[in-house]
């Protein structure tokens, strides 16, 4: 596997929020992490990013152990993250947001930005506007584009469709599918489980901090028990 996290255990204070969680994702694959509220989905993602200290577990990227790297060093290794909230620089222009995304890249920034404008045409029109003035869906696109500016191998998205309308949600998922074409490994935490599984290659379902189910997207979608319990019938 290109990216794998095994036996993750950790939490805040003395309480373990996730226990023995395992996830992996390959290049060109979309993998969703699903589950009810409070199952530890976002916590698991923070653990993979190194924002949360782990008690146990190991994380590998392209055969390299990155368990003990700081968040910033993991980013240098090729992981990029789109947080759920506050995921853009609201006071900077759209273009400056993208430039900041490429802070670590010295070269080809302008060509990279052009690439993003091709991927997300709507934000090209708004490039000199302050990002805070954009609509919810546009902001989300800026956020994803900013994360892609680092040229990541692994892209992590924390609930990219939280709080947007169904139309915008479809649009964002379409963008995620497009990104997949670039041979990037995509890992996303989602609340809208069914729609997420429809575009996912595989999915994990977390319950109270543990892996409960995992499998191919259509398998999870079609399993009666899972549908009933997690996907709303």
């Amino acid at each position: 596997m290109f990216f794998s996290a095994n036996n993750l255990t950790g939490g805040y204070g003395g309480v373990n929020i996730i226990e023995d969680c395992c996830f992996n994702v390959n290049r060109g694959e979309i993998v969703s992490i699903l589950g009810p509220n409070g199952a530890g989905k976002s916590t698991a993602m923070k653990a993979m990013l190194g924002i949360l200290d782990l008690k146990n577990g190991e994380i590998n990227l392209n055969g390299k152990d990155i368990t003990n790297l700081r968040t910033q060093d993991r980013i240098k290794q090729g992981i990029s993250f789109v947080p759920q909230n506050k995921n853009i620089f609201t006071e900077l222009t759209v273009e400056e947001n993208l430039e900041m995304g490429a802070f670590l890249n010295e070269k080809n920034i302008s060509s990279k930005i052009e690439e993003m404008y091709e991927l997300f045409p709507i934000i090209k029109e708004k490039k000199s506007q302050t990002a805070g003035e954009l609509s919810g869906g546009q902001r989300q696109q800026v956020a994803i584009a900013r994360a892609l500016m680092t040229d990541p191998d692994v892209l992590m998205l924390d609930e990219p469709t939280a709080g947007v309308s169904p139309v915008i949600m479809d649009e964002i998922f379409q963008h995620v599918l497009n990104i997949k074409q670039q041979n990037i490994a995509i890992l996303m935490v989602e609340q809208n489980a069914r729609q997420a599984l429809e575009i996912s290659d595989r999915g994990y379902i977390l319950v109270t901090g543990k892996n409960a189910y995992e499998g191919k997207g259509d398998y999870l979608l079609n399993d009666k028990e899972i549908r009933k319990a997690f996907l709303g019938g």
Binding site: T71, Q72, E96, M100, L104, R146
Partner: protein
């Protein structure tokens, strides 16, 4: 002719002094706002940091003068400025390392930072008074006037004179240069943009690979430069007295909040707004109206909105009004 006289009168007593004072306040307010934007606290030691920087400039000036070095018709202090800036940067970074870093790592609340900056304020206050004393120091040399009132009268044949001190022109030019460079840096360079990004959204800045340590060091460097330049210009224009510098912190805070705390461009305008209000509201317009109105309408009172005693109070009152009606400042827009 009377109309021209009235214009000259207003220029001489309102516009020229307000531009000068406004520039000095603007430099101070931008410094306070940058610290607030990046380090996220109101630095009460800022006035004394300005005093410290100015003191170093004065000491260097004296040393240069003792060597017989002067700057021609310009004040020697301008030659000494780089030394003052370097020493101020050093002490700022030293205090950041020994004092503020600890609380930053602990993620202390803003009030703790304020209290700590009070401690620093006392320390700097003492250092300046111990080293140079509490008294007035006049360190202006070079040409005093670019244009004297009488010369102006002779040239133009008007009743009213327009006096421009060289310090006033130096203040204006230096401020324009400094602020242009600063805003170019913040808006056009990668480091400047990353500073704004860090100020806007610290977590995302970290996720983008921006190094907070570097940002903080750069902020202190810029702030020290602004403090030293602002303090020196004020000292050249008026005179250097540690207590005045501490007091100037208050209108500087007013300008900062009026412009929207954390917003450098707002702080820049805020400085001028405060300066112009202070001066226009305390100026007695009697003579001005004498020029403009027919003889039978001439006023017999001073026509002064509020007495000069309340000069400082005006900036505070503006602040209170802003706080009530627009707590985020009157200039919407970019936080650094």
């Amino acid at each position: 002719m009377d109309f021209l006289n009235a214009i000259i009168l207003i220029s001489n007593f309102i516009i020229v002094p307000a531009i000068t004072y406004g520039s000095q306040l603007a430099l101070g307010a931008i410094g306070v706002t940058l610290i607030y934007g990046v380090l996220r606290f109101a630095n009460f030691a800022y006035g004394d940091l300005m005093a410290f920087g100015t003191m170093i400039v004065i000491l260097t000036t004296w040393y240069l003068q003792s060597l017989g070095v002067t700057f021609g018709f310009l004040p020697t202090a301008l030659l000494a400025l780089p030394i003052g800036i370097i020493v101020t940067i050093a002490i700022s970074l030293f205090f950041d390392k020994t004092v503020f870093e600890y609380y930053r790592k602990k993620k202390s609340n803003p009030v703790t930072f304020i209290v700590v900056s009070l401690g620093l304020m006392f320390v700097l206050n003492a250092l300046v008074r111990i080293i140079i004393g509490p008294g007035d120091v006049n360190f202006m040399d070079g040409h005093k006037f670019i244009m004297k009132a009488r010369e102006f009268k002779n040239i133009t044949g008007l009743n009213e004179g327009l006096a421009i001190k060289s310090t006033q022109l130096i203040t204006l030019i230096t401020t324009v240069i400094t602020c242009s460079l600063l805003f170019y840096f913040l808006n056009k360079t990668k480091t400047g943009k990353s500073m704004r990004a860090y100020s806007d959204n610290e977590d995302l800045a970290l996720l983008s690979g921006i190094d907070p340590k570097k940002i903080i060091i750069i902020t202190w460097v810029i702030v020290s430069i602004l403090a030293t330049i602002g303090g020196t210009l004020y000292g050249l224009d008026k005179s250097f007295k540690p207590f005045t510098y501490f007091n100037n912190l208050l209108p500087i805070f007013a300008a900062t909040i009026v412009g929207g705390i954390g917003n450098p461009l707002g702080a820049f305008y805020g400085g001028f707004l405060v300066a112009f209000s202070e001066i226009t509201l305390t100026y007695a317009y009697k003579k001005f109206f004498k020029y403009l109105l027919p003889e039978n309408l001439e006023p017999n009172t001073l026509i002064q909105f509020i007495s000069t005693d309340y000069k400082f109070a005006i900036s505070f009152a503006i602040l209170v009004i802003v706080l009530i009606f627009r707590p985020n400042g009157i200039f919407k827009g970019k936080v650094i």
